[in-house]
Amino acid sequence: MTARSRLLVLSAAVLLPATLASRARAQAPSPPPAVPVLDAEPEPVNDSEGYTPPTEGSGAPSPLSINGYVDVGFAHAQGDGTSFAPGDTRVPLDYGVDTFAPAVNSRGDVASTDPRPGRTLNGFLPRSAGIGGRPSFLLNTLSVDLKYTAPGAPLMVFSRVAFLPRFMGVDGDGTRVVVEQAFGRLVPFESQELALSVGKFDSVFGIEYLDNQANIRTGITPSLIARYTTGQSIGAKLFYRIHIAPLWSALTLNVAGTNSGNFVESLQPPDASLTGTPVASGRFGYELNAPVLQAKLGVSAMYGPRNDQFDRTATQRVYGADARIAVAGIYVNAEYVDVHEGPGTPKTTSLGAWPVSSGFTARGGYVQLAYALTLDLGPLRKLTLYARYDRRHAWFEGFTPITVERFTGGLRLDLWDAVILKGEYLENREVAGAPTVANNVITSSLVYSW
């Protein structure tokens, strides 16, 4: 086994807990890539090199690979699909509730954000699936990945494009095409696990961004804090990992400078810097990869101007801590964040222009427990039970602080190597501040991968 091969195996192995091992099954087997892929997409794992095709000539693998998935859902949210209470006429309506609570898919889209006539919003909103309180099938995502590995060069180019058909209410149907990732990654030193990426790429904050895609995420919906940590953005990032082999351990550093930091695009547009100043973010992590126990611990931070307004002195900062433990088929993920944004100029997000960017503070986190049972029952390869508890306390400057919590439970079935079926129930509770509203969700997801 070459040094690079060992590096690849170890890199893939430490990513494994996040994806419940089934990630490997979900991907068609392919030869080891020329460079380690750290978080761009799931990678196959082999304990031995096996047959290695020639790197050049007629037997060489194509440097271009195409992967992707289709995520079809069926969801039903209570009430009108929003978190807005019927008699609430405060302005803005989205400051006094958690608009992200009734999520229906892995993108965090909610059943509805329609405030109804005469009620005013200020852009603290997720994307909407537009189904309101009616049960509906959804084509959540059609995602296509292109990866090109340059022969003879330590360079990989990756792009991920998502097609998102949605019902837009009075605007009718519309399919949004989103370039979620598009970057080149350079690994300049063969002896070091050091990668420099430039382009549009995943967050470096915390751990939940690793599960952004429906074909990877254990369950269906993101956590209540995912809005602060899982957004892609454009810029440059540096990843470095050093292994401490005698201790089965590794230390990682992942830092980035981007347009918008790690907020999701509905809150801060990633495709342009509105202030002219980049946002810095990073995570320092420790990994333990013992034979029976795998653990990842990390601390993250983000600081810079908030990219939903134009004043570079209006800053945002986020701190976080995360942990993932995998042992005996049990997987525990936990994350906590502390968010603060200063007030700025009128607000601009990917959803439009809004009157004011208010000062904002949030604290929250989640704990997720999953148990995966490997099976060999016809097409059924794995059965996973999971549950998550979320809690979030947040307030806009001068507005009523709200506390919400969510209990999520679900079942996931992995069929063959290419199909995942998930069902999930979300019970959203308004603990304090926000009016009580019927916004629980039952949702499902059928993911075909290729």
Partner: protein, 399 residues
């Protein structure tokens, strides 16, 4: 790390940051080591708004002189916004018993529930009353927050709008108006001043309709705009609405409480006008608050004043301070100034006195000044008119 190393440095203009000052903020500024003289100084209003024209350092509200349809009026200033294109009406929940019987009575003892606090940029003192139909045994402690109201399941009934400012401990300058009270905000007791109903209108999106309030200014020789005295001119209705009077409710005029500040650029007087033609002349007698000297220094033409008025100003400058900077539209007399400038008995104003033909109404401004002389600022204010035509305006009660 290319981008990290390239912290940009550009000079592209950006939208200004919206600001809101309440009386809480003004008191906090007074409490600071070096309180500024004025706020809202970056939004097109020369000199901004002086703290002392809202409250003094002891917490007493200031009654600001203004002219409305030519009448002497007074208002108070409780909130100032800069760089807001619009502000919104917010719900104010008032528990009421006896809804079904028609004998509707608000729960006594300070039971109003405010929905948005003064620290929010979305706070406004303009509320739509939402009556909460509660059982007879309801006390003021029963509902203490919006969540309590909306979770209660009691029926809600939209009512009229009113202007109620959330305030710290403040003093009314005289009498018992505006009405002081206390209600709930997020479960805490909160003091307020109630300026009453019939003071606001809003559109289908809840946006409060603006009414212009005019600040006379002049242009110095160097082109700078400067204020002329303290008196403003408050409009009767929206711009170019040709409204000659505000609505009368309960037999009193009810002016808007939310105003957009406009500048009216006063041109120099024209000595060449015929003796019967209205002229534009700033009242600025020497020896007053210094406006005469300021105008001279700035190269703005001033008229000569007769000895009786000079002596009267010297003897009691406080009486004339209110009038300094006002603009007379009277034709000039044989002494090359309005004759009313020569008669000290016309001051202070009185309904029985002839007056001096002051520029004192929206219609005057829209008639005598073209669009280039009326400049919109980025300042809006809560200024409920508390006195007009020499009588206090009693706040309109709940309907």
């Amino acid at each position: 790390m290319l981008a990290v190393g390239l912290a940009a440095c550009d000079d592209e203009p950006r939208p200004a940051t919206p600001r809101l000052w309440t009386l809480f903020d003004v008191q906090e500024l007074y409490a600071g080591a070096a309180p500024p003289e004025a706020i809202a100084t970056d939004a097109g209003l020369p000199g901004g708004i002086k703290l002392s024209t809202m409250i003094d350092s002891g917490g007493t509200l200031f009654e600001h002189p203004t002219l409305t349809e030519g009448y002497e009026s007074l208002y108070m200033t409780t909130e100032v916004w800069t760089h807001f294109d619009e502000i919104w009406v917010q719900p104010l929940y008032i528990p009421v018993v006896g809804w079904q019987t028609g004998n509707r009575t608000p729960v006594m003892g300070g039971s109003w529930i405010f929905s948005v606090g003064q620290d929010s940029l979305f706070y406004s003192p303009f509320w739509q009353v939402i009556y909460v139909n509660v059982p007879d045994d309801t006390t003021r402690e029963t509902l203490r927050s919006v969540r309590d109201v909306l979770d209660s399941g009691y029926s809600l009934h939209p009512g009229p709008g009113r202007t109620v400012s959330l305030v710290p401990a403040v003093n009314a300058p005289r009498g018992t108006l505006p009405v002081k009270g206390e209600g709930w905000l997020d479960g805490q007791r909160q003091a307020f001043l109630d300026f009453g109903g019939a003071t606001i209108e809003w559109d289908a999106d809840g946006v409060i309709k603006e009414t212009p309030i005019y600040v006379p200014v002049y242009r110095t020789a160097s082109g700078e705009l400067k204020r002329l005295g303290i008196t403003t001119i408050a409009a009767s209705g929206p711009q170019h609405s040709n409204v000659f009077s505000p609505p009368f409710v309960e037999n009193q005029p009810r002016y808007a409480a939310y105003w957009r500040v406009f500048l009216v650029v006063i041109p120099p007087p024209k000595a060449s006008l015929p003796a019967t033609a209205p002229n534009v002349t700033v009242f600025a007698p020497p020896g007053g608050t210094g406006l005469y000297e300021q105008l001279m220094a700035d190269g703005f033409p001033v008229v000569d004043y007769a000895e009786p008025i000079k002596e009267a100003v010297a003897a009691d400058p406080g009486v004339y301070a209110t009038y300094e900077g006002r603009v007379s539209l009277k034709p000039w007399g044989p002494n090359a100034r309005p004759e009313c400038f020569d008669d000290p008995t016309l001051y202070p104003a009185d309904p029985n006195k002839a007056g001096c033909g002051w520029l004192g109404s929206q219609n005057d401004i829209e008639l005598y000044f073209d669009a280039s002389q009326i400049i919109r600022t980025d300042v809006t204010v809560t200024c409920p008119v508390v006195n007009s035509r020499m009588e206090d305006l009693i706040p309109v009660g709940l309907k």
